[in-house]
């Protein structure tokens, strides 16, 4: 078959110019690998963040102090607000109302010491945020009521302090107060935004009182946030509206005042995050694109350097009887072979890097190589290989054989 014969000519040509072929392929390999790993970072981060937020629970509203416009947030939300929202007569659709007070605290156990985000919570917090316990249990409503000095540790906190995840029954000092470990959470995987692994949980009023001495607002302890689980997804907007009205009334806000609290809903959060990760992907994608461009320029340079030699080769081939179509076919197959080989090596390389990096402890998430990135990387690098490989050939076919042979 004719095509097969050209294949062998192209292969002979490649083997006769291993350095040139290798450098061309290197350009493609670098381009493909750069695009795949950088966009893989972006996709991996996005997937990780989204998964963590979705893990947080369902139909969740989060109320925090301060207006959504930012600025400094005075602790305007209090225990009294939480109690008002817990009234089942007025808010039958709010299944769980879980106020929290969080701050960071220093943990010591023997010679081990560490600072971790510590969340004062009620017993229903574990349900609202869907926490999974590996050892022991979360504190009960009774333990919260009695202000017991008990703590539930995130997986990393337990292993940091005790060298093992099974730390139930151990004692630990938190800001120099003695606490007993009653539970350890399952590893939530990843360590990025929203992971539980480096947090610990204590009964709410223990945090507000003994541990952090929280500020009071109109006589009541302030809270950092209130997490609320709404009965149905459809009821979320309505519930948010009624909560807003109640809180505005309770905070004595007049018609012209803006809210001194923010109600965020998981869906909104997801949207914001996906915007952020979208930007991240674009950023990383452009870095990859630049690498691809650099690879392309590399290919072009090699092609330009060899253009004299190649033009003479084309002149000779034409002199001994090659048609223009023969020449173009040979060069087409040659660049095709180089691009496919280079592309495959680049893909293999990226998957290798992804696998190795994902196993590293410092990587908070796995690199995700997506199909669109594969298509993009192979498309662009092959296109540059084709264009830069075929252009000199195409130009040389326009010359008389003797002009091509004399080309300098």
């Amino acid at each position: 078959m004719k095509l097969f014969r050209y294949f062998s000519v192209a292969l002979t040509g490649i083997l006769a110019h291993k350095l040139r072929a290798g450098l061309t392929m290197l350009g493609i390999i670098i381009g493909v690998a750069a695009v795949l790993t950088t966009t893989g970072f972006g996709s991996g981060a996005a997937a990780d963040i989204t998964a963590n937020i979705q893990n947080g629970g369902v139909n969740l509203l989060t109320i925090s102090s301060g207006s959504s416009r930012g600025g400094n947030n005075p602790a305007t939300m209090t225990m009294a607000d939480a109690q008002a929202l817990s009234d089942a007569q007025i808010f039958p659709d709010l299944v769980y109302v879980a106020p929290q007070y969080s701050s960071s605290a220093t943990y010591t156990s023997g010679s081990e010491e560490g600072t971790y985000q510590t969340i004062g919570a009620t017993a229903n917090y574990a349900i609202v945020t869907d926490l999974d316990i590996e050892y022991g249990q979360f504190f009960t409503a009774e333990q919260v009521e009695k202000n017991e000095s008990v703590v539930v540790l995130g997986h990393t906190v337990a292993t940091d302090l005790f060298g093992t995840a099974d730390a139930v029954g151990q004692s630990v000092r938190i800001n120099n107060n003695a606490f007993q470990v009653i539970g350890v959470l399952e590893e939530s995987g990843g360590a990025g935004f929203g992971s539980n692994d480096t947090r610990a949980y204590v009964p709410l009023q223990v945090a507000q009182g003994r541990l952090f001495n929280a500020s009071r607002y109109r006589g009541n302890y302030s809270v950092s946030t209130i997490s609320i689980q709404v009965a149905t997804a459809e009821g979320m907007d309505d519930a948010a509206k009624r909560i807003e009205q109640t809180l505005r009334m309770r905070h004595n806000l007049s018609k012209d005042d803006t809210n001194d609290f923010t109600i965020s809903n998981q869906a909104d959060l997801l949207e914001t995050i996906s915007n952020v990760t979208g930007t991240l992907s674009i950023l990383l994608g452009s870095i990859g694109g630049i690498s691809l461009l650099v690879g392309g320029i590399g290919i072009m340079n090699i092609m330009l350097v060899t253009v004299t030699e190649r033009t003479r080769e084309i002149g000779l081939r034409k002199a001994v009887g090659a048609h223009n179509s023969d020449i173009l076919l040979q060069f087409l197959i040659e660049s095709l072979v180089l691009c496919v080989l280079g592309g495959l090596i680049g893909i293999g390389f990226s998957y290798g890097v992804a696998a190795i990096l994902s196993r590293m402890s410092f990587m908070p998430f796995a690199i995700v190589i997506e199909y669109w990135a594969l298509v993009l990387a192979i498309g662009v690098s092959s296109a540059s290989g084709f264009i830069f490989g075929l252009y000199p050939a195409w130009r040389a076919t326009k010359l008389d054989p003797i002009e091509a042979l004399r080309f300098e």
Partner: protein
């Protein structure tokens, strides 16, 4: 007329009033200036002349590697300016063998592969092509150098690879631009003996040379000067320059 194969053979190459002008900015170089020449089947012609007299330019024109600026060139009564690029490529492939002044071998490619090249474009299968290429290399005395690359061959050996490549398709016309330029006397004589043998077998032979001894072995000597034919001699007898005759 005293042609070796008799005077009645049909003309293979008919050149009428050809010019080739190279424009170098303001100045024009008339590399060929109104050259007319007829060469018949089976002739053995040497083209001589000083350096820059237009010998290579004329050979390239005859070998269909270059196009004249004006004038007509017919090969076996076919007007070449009517031929498509592909038809010319096929003629170069099957009818004409060309030995370049600069050997023009492919870099980093074995002698056998160099010689196989015309066969590839003629559509000869790989196995047969390898056989034919090896035979052609043996014919020029390089049977033991088939796997050598150009940079592993001497200048004379490279020249002989180029000759083998020109011969491998058994062309009816062989054009050689300074074929013995890079060869020592002994190898040069061997190549000339090979040419004589090929001519005996009926191949039309045209070669360019500086060397009057080499030219003396041809049966007809055309002398160029400044792009014009100075003389056209047959075995030492001076002839009138070939008259312009319309054929067909």
């Amino acid at each position: 007329m005293p042609y070796t194969n008799g005077s009645t053979t049909p003309p293979v190459i008919e050149i009428q009033n050809i010019t080739k002008i190279y424009k170098m900015g303001e100045t024009e170089v008339r590399a060929l200036n109104g050259v007319s020449l007829t060469i018949r089947e089976g002739e053995y012609v040497a083209i001589i002349g000083t350096s820059g007299s237009g010998k290579s330019t004329l050979m390239n024109m005859i070998g269909l590697l270059d196009k004249p600026t004006s004038g007509n060139y017919a090969i076996r009564a076919t007007e070449t300016n009517r031929l498509s690029q592909n038809q010319m490529a096929d003629l170069r492939n099957k009818e004409i063998g060309f030995v370049f002044q600069r050997f023009n071998l492919l870099a980093r490619t074995s002698a056998r592969r160099q010689v196989e090249l015309p066969l590839f474009y003629a559509g000869v299968g790989a196995g047969k092509a390898a056989q034919m290429a090896t035979a052609a290399l043996e014919r020029v005395g390089l049977g033991d150098r088939t796997h050598h690359k150009p940079d592993e061959l001497s200048g004379g050996q490279q020249q002989r690879v180029a000759i083998a490549r020109a011969l491998v398709n058994s062309p009816s016309i062989l054009l050689a631009d300074e074929p013995t330029g890079a060869l020592d006397t002994k190898t040069g004589e061997e190549v000339m003996a090979l040419f004589e043998e090929l001519n005996q077998q009926g191949m039309t032979l045209i070669l360019v040379t500086h060397d009057t001894d080499i030219a003396a072995q041809a049966h007809r000597v055309v002398t160029l000067r400044d792009g014009e034919i100075m003389s056209d001699e047959m075995n030492g007898l001076t002839l009138e320059p070939t008259p312009v005759v319309a054929y067909g």
